[in-house]
């Protein structure tokens, strides 16, 4: 593949310059800005001077502590239980808002577990951010494999010489070209708790036996609903990438497999899959990065609710930096997200390296 282009480096750099320039201007420089801002108390707009605050923004976001709660006891020393038989503990706010424990000031319960009679409560200085982090990771963990696999199945289905196959290609690809904001608005109607399309459909299939679910209004289903809709919207794009991978596999290999009497599964396992190796790495990394950037769906559909069940890292960065005019806080979140994505990408690179 060596051509004049790869050898004549002057022309090569000249061609690359606009791209590199734009990337430097809009991605690399802002990143260093963000890192710089995250060490200050910069506000979006404020007459107050900016001050250097060290890593305080990071502490405010990431501080965690564990509080041990002893059960409430009556005069005889017996543990007090409520009507359901659950042990009663003092409220966490009696500790976090008490002047006796300045180290827990401003912290809030994230989750707790019980060991014996005592309860251990994990308190965080920014519970919303912690939930956003968990939700984002959960989103990536589900969406990356499911979307990748579904895209591959679709690619295998449309990689056939059938009449009208282009119609299916167009249908599967269509959601990708529609703006995600429009798609999110439409799915808000589909997920509507009263007379949304999905509830109506399920009700029709079960002959009225279906109890309507408020998909986006219920903390248990909200994130899952957004996952499903996001996969539906983006799967066509990765289907096309898989398809291009499939079409680079030489037909002679399939013919050889056919002659050898390989089953369909064997053909896939020993011909198709090894041939898709590089495509798989690309698809996985791209989906992972896109999934970490989850924002528009949240902004349009749930605003992070209900009960923070759909908070995400990028949504928090925007909400904080612009909505609450705290640019340094928003920058800090961006830096943390960058480190997170970088770490995961490096791990993926290492796991999928050529052995």
């Amino acid at each position: 593949m060596a051509s004049k282009l790869t050898r004549s480096t002057g022309a090569g750099w000249a061609f690359a310059l606009p791209g590199f320039g734009l990337i430097a201007l809009f991605i690399i420089v802002p990143f260093f800005f963000a890192f710089g801002l995250s060490l200050t108390n910069q506000r979006l707009i404020s007459p107050n001077p900016t001050e250097y605050v060290g890593f305080e923004n990071y502490r405010d976001l990431l501080s965690l502590s564990v509080i041990t709660l002893e059960p409430e006891r009556d005069d005889s020393g017996a543990v007090i239980r409520d009507e359901d038989g659950e042990i009663e503990y003092p409220r966490v706010r009696t500790i976090t808002r008490s002047d006796d424990f300045p180290q827990y000031r401003g912290m809030r319960e994230w989750f707790r577990w019980q060991s014996g009679d005592t309860a251990r409560v994990v308190v965080a200085s920014d519970v919303v951010f912690m939930k956003a982090l968990v939700n984002t990771l959960m989103f990536v963990l589900v969406v990356a494999p499911v979307q990748g696999a579904l895209a591959l199945v679709l690619a295998l289905l449309i990689n056939q010489k059938l009449r009208g196959i282009n119609v299916y290609r167009a249908i599967y690809f269509m959601p990708v070209v529609v703006s995600i904001v429009v798609v999110s608005l439409l799915w808000r109607f589909i997920y509507d708790g009263n007379d949304g399309l999905l509830n109506n459909l399920l009700s029709a299939i079960t002959f009225g036996g279906w109890q309507p679910v408020d998909w986006l209004g219920n903390p248990d289903t909200a994130l899952g609903s957004i996952m499903a809709m996001s996969i539906w919207q983006a799967v066509g794009f990765h289907m096309v990438i898989w398809l291009s991978g499939l079409q680079t596999i030489s037909p002679t290999l399939y013919e050889a497999a056919d002659i050898e009497g390989a089953s369909k599964w064997q053909t896939f396992r020993y011909v198709t899959w090894p041939g898709l190796r590089n495509t798989a790495v690309l698809v996985l990394i791209v989906i992972t990065m896109q999934a970490f950037a989850l924002f528009a769906q949240i902004d349009v559909m749930t605003n992070g609710g209900p009960l923070d069940s759909t908070q995400t890292v990028v949504f928090q960065a925007v909400e904080r930096g612009y909505g609450k005019q705290d640019i340094s806080g928003g920058s800090t979140i961006s830096v943390i997200l960058f480190l997170l994505v970088l770490t995961i990408s490096l791990i993926q690179r290492w796991l999928t390296r050529e052995k």
Partner: protein, 419 residues
């Protein structure tokens, strides 16, 4: 931004070229893009103003309301603000403190007799003046009150909290309605603090402690605040009100269609409700939860940006626009409450016997402006999230504590916001 301002200057210079030679151009931004009636009235005022005097010529640029505040913040960051700024009442202190508005040199006579809530003051100075205010009332049908056997509350004798809850219970028990009460959870954003913080104040709490504006501790999460939170949560757990996932279409039409017995809504929806066929609609005052009945106040106002070299020109324009006939025109056009009583008598809806007359009384008797502080912008967002979380079942005390921590941290990070 730059392109827009250039367009404004271009429009201005064309006017100068064709009109009087000595007029100085004043650019203006307005939040009402997309509303034709509103734009027509404003353009009429501007034309009249430009023709009536020879010092200034105003040229306007309209933005959609949803992105208006963002546009101004972006304009301020890039030093590209117009001379005349249109500003939402509760946001004004933030813009004044941030240094992109300057005091408006308007005479006290020009605003004599105007509703207090239409005059935006910060740090002892007038920064912005509005042509109208808005008010919120409890919408219901006279037939609903009759069917449920409820007393009609008045401004002098509003419902108590218990009476209000009894009314909701009666409406729920009747089985005639999908929900007894529609507070408007579908209208996210400024609606939450504007419409719901007066309930909190009626309980005796507040978003921040207004004696110092330095903390929310005790105001938002004190006993009154927690009592308010418990009551708020009960609206949703008992099933009186639709929650945060309410369909926006139901918010707009649910009351008209008879899905809701009571609706908490603003005067701007009054005409549509009557035209929608609810001819026996009544606008009831806010219930009193112990600390007096309250509704929010403060709407859009005009002021001068800090970079404007001619604040006296802005003041001239605002004084000109404050004429009763323009106040009345805006009121007739888009249903807003005119800022003065004289103007009210000239309007179709707010004159004595007019369909929306109760709102003028509500505005006079119950209006309480939102906290006058630059920190309000952030506190409002925190409050909105707390109310949504409580409605969705979060622990009341913990949620309010967290909101207090966030508001206090923001006040501290801004060195007390200059109070």
């Amino acid at each position: 931004m730059k392109r827009l301002t250039n367009a404004g200057i271009l429009a201005g210079t064309t006017l100068i070229a064709t009109g009087a030679m000595a007029q100085t151009e004043l650019s203006m931004w307005y939040h009402g893009a997309g509303n034709e009636v509103e734009s027509n009235i404003l353009n009429g005022i501007i034309e009249d103003f430009n023709a009536a005097q020879s010092d200034w010529t105003v040229s306007v640029e309209s933005f959609p309301q949803n992105s208006y505040n963002d546009s101004v913040v972006a304009g301020a960051l890039s030093d590209n603000l117009p001379c005349i700024l249109d500003v939402d009442g509760p946001v004004m202190p933030n813009w004044a403190w941030s240094g992109y508005m300057q005091p408006l040199p308007i005479s006290e006579e020009a605003i004599a007799g105007h509703l207090d809530s239409t005059v935006g003051r910060w740090d002892g100075e007038i920064y912005a003046v509005g042509l109208w205010d808005a008010a919120v009332a409890l919408y219901t049908r006279q037939s609903t009150l009759d069917d449920l056997g409820l007393r009609t509350p008045t401004l002098d004798n509003p419902w108590t909290g218990e009476e209000f809850m009894a009314a909701l219970e009666a409406a729920k028990a009747s089985g005639d309605y999908e929900y007894a009460f529609d507070p408007g959870m579908a209208w996210t954003g400024e609606w939450y603090p504007y419409a719901f913080s007066p309930f909190l104040q009626s309980f005796g709490g507040d978003i921040v402690d207004r004696s110092t504006y330095q903390t929310a501790e005790g105001a938002l999460n004190g006993d009154a605040g927690i009592a308010f939170g418990e009551w708020w949560q009960s609206l949703f757990t008992v099933g009186y009100a639709p929650g945060t996932s309410q369909d926006p279409a139901d918010r707009d039409n649910g009351f008209i269609e008879g899905k809701y017995a009571f609706q908490w809504n603003g005067n701007w929806a009054g005409v549509a409700t009557i035209e929608g066929g609810v001819d026996d609609v009544v606008f009831l005052p806010a219930p009193d939860f112990g600390n007096g009945p309250n509704i929010g106040a403060g709407s859009w106002q005009f002021g001068a940006s800090a970079t404007c070299p001619h604040p006296e020109g802005v003041a001239d324009f605002v004084e000109f626009a404050l004429q009763d006939k323009y106040l009345a025109a805006f009121s007739d056009g888009i249903g807003l409450i005119p800022a003065s009583e004289e103007a009210a008598t000239m309007t179709e809806n707010y004159a004595p016997g007019g369909a929306l007359e109760p709102f003028f009384g509500l505005s006079e008797a119950q209006a309480l402006v939102r906290p006058v502080s630059p920190g309000y912008v952030v506190a409002a967002k925190v409050f909105e999230k707390a109310l949504a979380d409580i409605a969705n079942g979060a622990d009341v005390a913990d949620t309010l504590d967290a909101a207090v921590d966030e508001i206090d941290a923001d006040i501290e990070a801004n060195s007390g916001y200059g109070h």
